[in-house]
Subunit: 137 residues, 2 copies
């Protein structure tokens, strides 16, 4: 499972937010802490606020806050929003017509693994990331 940079950044942000006791986070603070390019992070935050994962507060004392209860936001939601989940649901050989009834030669051995991946993404919520640890990387 190889997420896009954008998904990685999104998860870093959410993981950081949920593990901090602060409520509001400025882009500046996130950039300093999380090793994510400034402008790119800002755009991502705007995107995520449009998706309803976070809420943005404009103006002088602005920033971002989590908008959903962390246990109702799952990895798969975040990934689907920022890069699309379809990629992780296709044939491993890229045959678009591969299916149970017309399987590629890897289908049978790969499907259980893919199922586990999707389960991991759909069952892991942002609250799972909450362990009270403030990490430095």
């Amino acid at each position: 499972m190889r997420l896009s940079k954008t998904s990685e950044y999104a998860l870093r942000v959410l993981s950081y937010m949920v593990n901090s006791d602060q409520q509001v986070f400025t882009a500046k603070k996130l950039v300093e802490t999380l090793d994510v390019p400034d402008k790119y992070l800002r755009r991502l935050m705007t995107d995520m606020s449009k998706k309803g994962f976070i809420r943005s507060i404009q103006g002088r004392i602005g920033g971002y806050v989590l908008a959903k209860s962390a246990d109702t936001l799952f990895l798969i939601d975040v990934i689907d929003a920022v890069e699309g989940i379809e990629k992780y649901n296709g044939c491993i050989m890229g045959h678009d017509k591969c299916s149970d009834s017309n399987p590629c030669s890897l289908h049978k051995s790969y499907i259980p693994l893919r199922k586990q991946e999707l389960e991991f993404l759909s069952k892991t919520s942002i609250s799972t990331l909450k362990d009270g640890t403030i990490r430095k990387f």
Copy 2:
């Protein structure tokens, strides 16, 4: 697990070769059969022959043949050769210093899955793809 197009193409070729009773395959034939761009496939075949997975035969009756016994060639070898395997071995959040002793907040839950993925790739040989079926997609 989302392979690069190039890896997908490589696996399609090898799967097709191992499931056919032919010995020699021209690029023309592979392109017609496998829905892979002509010139791109040719370069990939040259690359794979340099890696020793296949042998290329030049000249008028040329083409490509499998160069290794199919049960000694594993998915991970192919993927590592054409796109590099490191990508599939990093932190899911992209922290380069993430490790067992300095884990990201997803580390513990993700590691078992990653292990399974790598096992799948290292244990699945090209001969696994051999089931005698000639597929059309």
